[in-house]
Symmetry: C2
Subunit: 189 residues, 2 copies
C-alpha cells in the first residue's frame, strides 16, 4: 500500500481529477512513483471509500464531467502515520541494467543502440524537470526558494528526479562509448 500514499502526496497541492492525476503521474509525480490511469482510478475509489480523500462532481459543458478529489483530514493523518513508518530501502529495477549485466554475452550493437536511446530519453526528462523547477521557484533563486518558499516537497523530489536522470544519461553515454571502443578494438584484432 504505497501507491496509496503517493496519491495522497500528489493531491496535497491541488484538487485533481483521476485523469489529471494520471497526467501528473506521467510527468512530475513520476519522480517518486509511477502508475497507470487504471491503477489511479482504482486507488482513488478505495481512498474515497476509506474516507482519505473526498471527491466532488464537476459538471462540464464541453467535456465529460469529472470528479475532483482532495485529501481529507483523515487522509492527512494517514500520511503522517506513513511518514513515521520505516522505509523499505530503495533500489533500481531496470531492464536495461539487466541487459548491460549480460553485456559480454549479448549483441553489442543492439545494446549500444538502447543505451543511446535511453540517454536521449533521460536528456528529455532533464529538460522537463529543469522547466518544472524553474516554474516552481518562479523568479527566486533556488537557494532563496528552498529557504523561504512554501511547499518545497515537490521541488525536492524533482531535484532527486533530475539528478537521477542526469546519472542515467551520463552512465548510458559512458557505457555506450566503452562498448563502442571495445567493439572497434575487437574488429581490429
Amino acid at each position: 500500500m504505497a501507491l496509496r500514499h503517493a496519491v495522497l502526496a500528489a493531491l496535497l497541492d491541488e484538487e485533481l481529477s483521476g485523469y489529471q492525476l494520471a497526467k501528473a503521474f506521467d510527468t512530475g509525480v513520476a519522480n517518486f512513483w509511477h502508475a497507470l490511469p487504471q491503477q489511479l482510478y482504482a486507488e482513488l475509489a478505495k481512498l474515497e471509500s476509506d474516507g482519505l480523500v473526498s471527491g466532488r462532481e464537476v459538471v462540464q459543458d464541453t467535456r465529460p464531467n469529472k470528479r475532483l478529489f482532495q485529501v481529507t483530514e483523515a487522509g492527512l493523518a494517514e500520511l503522517d502515520r506513513f511518514a513515521a513508518s520505516v522505509n523499505k530501502p530503495s533500489f533500481i529495477r531496470d531492464d536495461l541494467l539487466v541487459k548491460v549485466q549480460a553485456a559480454d554475452h549479448v549483441d553489442t550493437d543492439e545494446l549500444i543502440a538502447q543505451l543511446t536511446e535511453r540517454a536521449a530519453f533521460a536528456e528529455a526528462k532533464i529538460e522537463l524537470f529543469g522547466g518544472l523547477l524553474r516554474r516552481m521557484r518562479g523568479d527566486r533563486s533556488e537557494e532563496k526558494f528552498l529557504r523561504h518558499g512554501a511547499r518545497i516537497g515537490p521541488y525536492l523530489t524533482c531535484l532527486r528526479g533530475l539528478a537521477f536522470e542526469q546519472g542515467n544519461r551520463d552512465w548510458c553515454r559512458r557505457s555506450a562509448a566503452i562498448l563502442r571502443e571495445r567493439r572497434t578494438a575487437h574488429a581490429q584484432r
Copy 2:
C-alpha cells in the same frame, strides 16, 4: 518476466546455488534488480523446467546438499532475445521520496531523521560498491580494465549502482540540511 532475465544475467559469471544467488541479490546484483530468496528458488525451478538453466546436485558432508545452476544454450538464446526487446522506462520508486513530497505536511524531525539514516545507508553501499569494483578490476586502472577486461557487464552495472547511491547520499544530506534550516528559521519567527 524480468526477474527471469535478471537471474540468467546473474548466473552468467558463476554457477550458483539458490542460496548463493539470494546472497548475490542482496549485494551486487541488487544494483539492477532485487528479489527475495523465495522468488529466486521459484524462478530457478521454472527456469530449469523451461530448460534455460540446468542444475546439478552437489553433495556436501558438512553442510546440507545444494543444487548449483548454470545457464544453458537455450538460456543464452533467451537472454539474447530479451536484450533485443524494448525497454520499459526505468523510474525511481521510493517510500522516502513520497514522504519528502509531503514534506510541508508531515513531521519535519521525523523526516530529517529518515533522510539522515538513508544517507548513512547509501554511504555504506558506496563503500561496498567501491570494494566490489576494486576486486573486479584487480590491479588494473579502471580505464584499462574497461578497455581490455573480460566481462565488463557486472562492472558497468556496479558503476551505475555506485552513482545512484552517491546521488542518494548527496540528495538526502542536502534535503536534510534544508529542512533543518527551515525548521530553525521557523522556530525563530
